[in-house]
Subunit: 472 residues, 2 copies
């Protein structure tokens, strides 16, 4: 009896151990997908899901180890844990890219946070894992959120006065002054020390909001704060969104109680406390990996100032990941992010031989201050890629010269076109180096696909960088 | 020196006492304004603000003591404390009721929570208060929220299974079956024990949502749950809003893990925990007074079943206020509400001599179970009133008989009309007592007002009931 008992116990322990091991093998990764609006977040997620589900093979994704090694079993969408966060609408996005009839269109951009969970079942490749548990599952939570929310990050460390010092001068710059003039005129009329006039504050805040929306639409400038003003959702009309920067020095000791200024400060602080912090607390601190999609080509189209500002914003964000264990951001949110990928999307919009230039350019934007940056255990990578290729390469011979063109249907135009795109610069240019004629990269409609397959450029590299080590 | 010190101290103490007393005299009242959509919440709040600010006098508000006694000094809108809650847009509402040119229209109904703070400065009427502090201020926070949210209250006490038992049979009733048939057909095809099919659940949830929206629009039925499905805001597309009732008995022990049923239960529970409870925690528990606006006339127009359902819903809600100190609701939220007013709005749409009938009818709806109800220190009152009168009384003599008619411009019709409205019943009618031809009360556009004044019926009584004791 004691033998049998020992045997049972041993069996039970072995069972438990295997179960525990198995549990630890079912890994979870939270991937944050972000980028300014128009950078292709929705297309990226749609492509990621499509290639992991119905297009998952080694021919399609040769640089994704789990595919090349034929260890991928199957991937499917499974119910998400975060029931309060809207689900990424994969079906809708896919049907606009692969419609049953008619021309494909880019999926509508989402302006809210949303999520999708994938279960990736795979064969472990060796050793202990392979021995005990031939199949493991990686649960991948994809969290898509507006890049504008990320740009509120630096505000966490600022007082209202510091924020004004940074933001107000921006509004008088040549790139903004056309759009900002109404706001500037109104804010100059405001007596900061007068008793609060809620209607006046609401009116000026509305001008400020229109200005931000206008700048986002027309200039692709990146430094637009507060980010929620661009997509307020349920907060539309709430006082904490009705603030704006003012000019001049603010001495916090001199603020008159109940004045316009006192209320602007109160609202700024409430925005930080009730909107920005909760977002980072509820979501950001749980992210494991982050991809930041950057539409470098559109920024090049807009000109030197826009590209410069994108670079400066990215570097500001990087600086926040970089404060070390004792830094403000780390102390506040204890983020888990160990890998960040900056991806120059839409590389199919240039010639294949210039993809490398695009990657180098993005690298120079991100690493502008690389000497000053040291990332505590966070890996940073840059790539040029295309989630969904909208063009085909075409070689044209012109006067004995071979030109690497692309063929596609420019957005909002009726006819297909073979076109020689400009070469992007390999690094950030000075203002004096900027070509007088500027850059003009076209935008393209998605390619029709009779076989219902999406095509990509280097999405497999992206997958390998972001997920490869979790699928070994 | 010691004398002077004593003198100073005495002065200082006196100063402090006066200050402390003054502080305690500046009272705060949080008034919750609710009612099903279309019941006139926006019009009520607009009228309340208008009559307290630019129309505040004893002739206009004779039954509001503070006005009759000429103790009202001034009322103004002041900044609200809750910066995350959208501000009630008084300016917009007023300008649709009193446009600078063109015909007035009813203000757009708000579908979210919103708030407005008034500071009511008044003269205390007697005694200690009058002596020390000739002027006091009552801060009135008006919180306007969709009545549909209130209707989720009973769900707090239900399991998913209990909720289904109550809701599913409703959907097969004659009043609903036309609108619910698509949903019912789809839900019958769902295999509850099959592994979760998120697309199927989302599809059926969408049918359920369309059905609720349709019922709200076409039938004015009151029992529509979950309330947030009717106005999801930022929660649109979140799994916790993608649930619906199913038929048959649910034994919680038999629920298959990972099944469709398991996920419906999970979502129902998440809805209660993450949407309903937080609303009551953040807002409801802080309310002091509540007015529930009821559009009794529209319910009469819809017929016996709708009126019956409104009555049953109101009684369900009352029952929740009635559970005593040890009751579920009291334990959970510790509400402070000490006065509730049920107001039959739009009484200007019937003849003045029938206003009393309307009040009696509402009273019979509310007090249907009055023998069973005992309110722990909560006062309940019913009134017939009109926040903004849209008609004028007209006496017409027809064949020697004097008829009490009303004169106004029916909604969506070009011509003005003198019209004899039907008499509302004095109490809830049985189905057999219901007149064969039903009831037909007209709806009217707001009256143009060249002098920019709003007119009301018994709004002063409402103010006195809700605020009179705080302004003594």
């Amino acid at each position: 009896m004691s033998q049998s008992f020992a045997k049972k116990t041993f069996k039970s322990i072995k069972g438990k151990a295997q179960k525990a091991l198995h549990r630890s093998l079912d890994q979870h990764v939270k991937l944050a997908v972000t980028g300014l609006s128009g950078s292709g977040k929705t297309a990226f997620i749609t492509a990621l899901v499509k290639h992991l589900t119905t297009q998952a093979d080694d021919k399609n994704l040769p640089f994704f180890d789990v595919m090349r090694e034929h260890r991928h079993v199957a991937t499917k969408v499974v119910p998400q844990e975060a029931l309060k966060v809207p689900t990424f609408n994969y079906t809708r996005a896919l049907s606009s890219l692969l419609p049953s009839d008619g021309m494909p269109t880019w999926p509508a951009s989402t302006e809210r946070i949303n999520t999708l969970r994938l279960a990736i079942k795979y064969q472990s490749n060796a050793g202990l894992r392979g021995h005990f548990s031939p199949q493991s599952t990686l649960y991948l939570d994809i969290i898509d959120y507006p890049g504008e929310w990320l740009l509120d990050l630096p505000m966490l460390e600022q007082s209202y006065s510091q924020w004004c010092e940074q933001q107000y001068p921006l509004l008088t710059q040549p790139s903004r002054v056309n759009t900002s003039s109404d706001f500037l005129a109104a804010v100059e009329q405001l007596d900061l020390n007068a008793p609060v006039d809620e209607n006046a504050l609401a009116h000026i805040a509305q001008l400020y909001q229109s200005m931000l929306v206008g700048l986002k639409k027309d200039t692709k400038l990146a430094m637009l704060q507060p980010g929620r003003m661009l997509m307020p959702g349920d907060l539309q009309g709430a006082p904490l969104l009705l603030f704006f920067p003012v000019s001049g020095e603010i001495n916090s000791d001199d603020v008159v109680a109940g004045s316009n200024l006192a209320h602007l400060i109160k609202r700024f602080n409430a925005y930080i406390k009730e909107v920005v912090k909760p977002f980072y607390n509820e979501h950001f601190r749980h992210f494991d990996r982050q991809i930041v999609l950057v539409d470098v080509l559109s920024a090049l189209n807009e000109g030197h100032e826009t590209l410069q500002e994108q670079s400066s914003v990215i570097n500001q964000l990087l600086a926040h990941f970089n404060y070390g264990e004792s830094g403000f951001f780390k102390r506040l949110f204890k983020p888990n992010i160990d890998k960040i990928l900056f991806a120059a999307n839409k590389s199919d919009h240039i010639s294949a031989k210039h993809h490398k230039d695009l990657a180098l350019l993005l690298d120079s934007l991100v690493h502008e201050q690389s000497n000053h940056l040291k990332f505590d255990g966070v890996q940073i990578e840059t790539m040029a890629m295309s989630s969904i290729t909208a063009t085909q390469p075409r070689q044209i011979t012109d006067k004995g010269q071979t030109l690497d063109c692309i063929y596609g249907k420019p957005l909002n135009e009726p006819d297909w076109l073979t076109y020689l795109p400009p070469q992007p610069p390999k690094r950030m240019l000075n203002k004096s180096e900027w070509p007088a004629q500027g850059f003009e990269f076209l935008s393209f409609s998605p390619m029709p696909s009779p076989d219902k397959q999406l095509k990509h450029i280097r999405l497999d590299h992206v997958m390998q960088y972001l997920l490869g080590d979790k699928l070994t």
